[in-house]
Amino acid sequence: MQKEQISLSQTIISQMMQIGSSVQPFSKESREKTSRIHNAKVVHSVCPYCAVGCSLDVYVKDGRVIDIEGNADSPINRGTLCPKGSATFQYTVNPSRLTQVLYRAPYSDHWEVKSLDWAVEQIAQRVKKTRDETFVQSLPDGREVNHTLGIATLGGATLDIEENYVIKKLFSGGLGVVSIENQARI
């Protein structure tokens, strides 16, 4: 036992004597270093900011996003990104994000946390009530319009095409809402 310890001590000393010499004192951590995206799953995505359409590689490990970078294969961005695109990780993984439904009653001075189910049901009822009260089938001169001007929507330029499609389909084609608008107007 003692012999072993002395031998160890001697080895340690001899090693330490070399620290600072030209031989590199690599630490264990340095020796074992690898990138954290090693063996991570790569998901193809697209930057959510401007309209250049830079491709993103989203790296996922254990069900969590661990890194977002430009996709080097893309002929659009060749792996590069601007600062906003480079910050997409912080845009998605951010403690300031809303995660619950917040509701503010008329004249109230505070938010209340509500369930998603409750919110969607309440919103559906508001839509029905307002639509029923404001729907116009024909103008006084008889021209048919089948619309409501009592409800409006705004937004879509940051959404998916599929989302835009169902917004227009439901609100225009289903409900007769006319003022459906988005950032393209701005």
Partner: protein, 293 residues
């Protein structure tokens, strides 16, 4: 092999904890020297490099403070800012009388992404008493966080003001690692990858230096007579910089020293410090073992 010895040993854990960070690991096989060529003539000042670096290296944001220094609110490299884009406004310069379009319009807004120079003979490494600062197998200068004790000698040694001690979290010296972890996996450093215009290029130092010389020649041909290289020649700090620059004006305009000096001449040689430290520690070790019989 030391690794094996330390693994076989049954010595108390405490000893392990004390010495293991100092135990020498086998040196990985040497690779070609890698570095950055930052070509300021095509920088668009977007700061993608700053954010990509923060993102990859999981560095905290700087305080949001409007500096008024053109579009530069980062101000300087620090322990948690390893890329920094400078903005230098040169508007209303004397207009040369030429009829053709100049390569750059005469009013200039110089933009420059500053970073650790990864000196071939790095004063910070020389000043480091603990062996925390090493030259990696890629010939880059790297601060081993598991070794650094935060003494700060490197901070004063760096002639560029690059390296700094993280006063808020790790209390160790930190700076650009050239994304050592990515390099190990053969992945380009985050800043170079993100850079839209390839103003930041990553590659083998010798190839990059050839590229840089070619580039400055081309710019001279195009009439950009102010273009010059910084840190490519070996005479800077006895060996040149592995991370070097193409500038469009005097280095001083970019807050870079014309002739960076090596302050370590005034410091007790780092190797001596190391030997003393090692001796003290090993004596302590022996003392500990003998008491533990």
């Amino acid at each position: 092999m030391i690794v094996e010895t330390s693994q076989r040993t049954t010595s108390p854990e405490l000893v392990q904890n004390i010495v293991s960070p100092l135990l020498k690991q086998p040196v990985p096989p040497m690779q070609p020297a890698m570095g950055f060529f930052t070509d300021t003539s095509i920088c668009i000042g977007c700061k993608a490099c700053e954010v990509a670096c923060k993102q990859w290296n999981e560095l905290p944001a700087n305080e949001a403070h409007w500096s008024g220094t053109s579009y530069d609110n980062t101000r300087q490299l620090s322990a948690t800012t390893w890329r920094h884009v400078q903005f230098i406004e040169q508007i209303g310069r004397e207009r040369p009388q030429i009829s053709t379009l100049p390569f750059f319009n005469n009013d200039r807004w110089l933009m420059h992404s500053d970073v650790c120079k990864h000196c071939a003979n790095a004063p910070c490494q020389e000043a480091c008493p603990t062996g925390a600062i090493i030259r990696t197998e890629f010939d880059t200068v790297y601060v081993q966080q598991d070794i650094c004790n935060g003494c700060g000698y490197c901070v004063v040694a760096c002639p560029f003001g690059v390296i700094a001690r993280d006063e808020h979290a790790s209390h160790t010296a930190r700076k650009c690692t050239l994304c050592y972890d990515r390099m190990k996996d053969g992945i380009e450093p985050a800043c170079a990858k993100a850079c839209p215009t390839d103003s930041i290029q990553y590659g083998e130092v010798e190839q990059l230096k050839a590229l840089a010389r070619e580039r400055v020649g081309l710019l001279h041909e195009r009439g950009v007579s102010e273009a010059r290289l910084y840190g490519v020649d070996d005479n800077m700090l006895d060996g040149g910089l592995n991370s070097f620059f193409l500038l469009l004006d005097e280095p001083a305009v970019y807050n870079l020293p014309q002739n960076p000096s090596r302050p370590s001449n005034n410091v007790v040689p780092a190797s001596l410090w190391s030997i003393v430290t090692a001796l003290v520690l090993s004596l302590l070790g022996i003392f500990f073992f003998s008491n533990n019989k």
